[in-house]
């Protein structure tokens, strides 16, 4: 899976391209965590514009990053989720712990206002 990481101050924007499942989430997690430590990241924003599919492995990935970020009073946010991803967010209760935004600009603005 291709993933681009952008750093904006203390916020990391993660843009995965492709499906998030058990197979792809392992490498994605390693990539995020390595960069988060190196760049002293406080907030993570997932841009899911290019993710059509996510199963419970993605739930584990997001909850794991949420725990890391909230330990430093940072937040975990998500934008651009498709309808099928939204169902996963609803069922899992993820929407109660992560901040959901419609688009990237809105998400970045809200995070920077904090």
């Amino acid at each position: 899976m291709e993933t681009s990481l952008k750093i904006l101050g203390q916020t990391m924007i993660v843009v995965p391209i492709g499906d998030i499942d058990h197979h792809t989430s392992i490498a994605l997690r390693e990539k995020i965590d390595k960069e988060a430590v190196r760049e002293n990241i406080k907030n993570i924003l997932f841009d899911f514009s290019n993710v059509e599919f996510m199963d419970s492995s993605g739930i584990g990935l997001i909850i794991g990053r949420y725990k890391l970020m909230s330990a430093n009073n940072g937040i975990t946010a998500v934008c651009h989720i498709s309808d099928s991803l939204r169902r996963i967010f609803d069922i899992s209760g993820l929407k109660k712990i992560v901040h959901l935004y419609g688009n990237l600009d809105e998400a970045i603005n809200q995070i920077q206002l904090r």
């Binding site: 499942d21 058990h22 599919f53 584990g60 909850i63 309808d83 099928s84």
Partner: protein
């Protein structure tokens, strides 16, 4: 059961086959003319079951393991079985409890069976320790207008 159409796929218990398996199941279901949401439901449920077979069924010895995906269509319902010959589940009820996971250190969310049950009409698990596990699911296509 006598199906109108059926298929069997046997694959190595490797994580890269998770996407292969769900795409195959979704393609097979296409003849029922499912909605986008129904396709997503099938893909997600199959992905969960195959992932379970690979991680939990063969966790310690994935080398020679295989996972079998069987799909059958009868009228407007798709029947799906995911079969492994791994270590089996000793307590099925516990395994199916929402948020229960035997692998929290790997950031498993424990939501696999909950997702299967939510997205499919029926989910049945048969398992025998050290013999393997069968997950049987079905979904009637065309129930909702989405």
């Amino acid at each position: 059961m006598e199906y109108d159409n059926e298929m069997i796929l046997e694959m190595s218990a490797k994580s890269r086959n998770e996407s292969f398996a769900r795409v195959v199941a979704a393609s097979f279901a296409a003849s029922l003319d499912p909605t986008v949401a129904e396709v997503a439901d099938i893909k997600t449920a199959v992905s969960e079951a195959v992932t379970n077979a690979i991680i939990h069924g063969y966790g310690e010895s994935p080398k020679n393991g295989t996972v079998t995906l069987k799909c059958g269509i009868l009228q407007d319902t798709i029947y799906i079985e995911i079969i492994d010959f791994g270590k089996g589940i000793s307590d099925i009820e516990e395994a199916m409890t929402p948020l229960y996971t035997s692998a929290p250190e790997d950031e498993r969310s424990g939501m696999g069976f909950t997702i299967m049950e939510t997205f499919m009409d029926s989910v049945e698990v048969l398992s025998q320790p050290s013999k393997g596990t069968v997950v049987r699911m079905s979904k009637k296509i065309g129930q909702r207008d989405i």
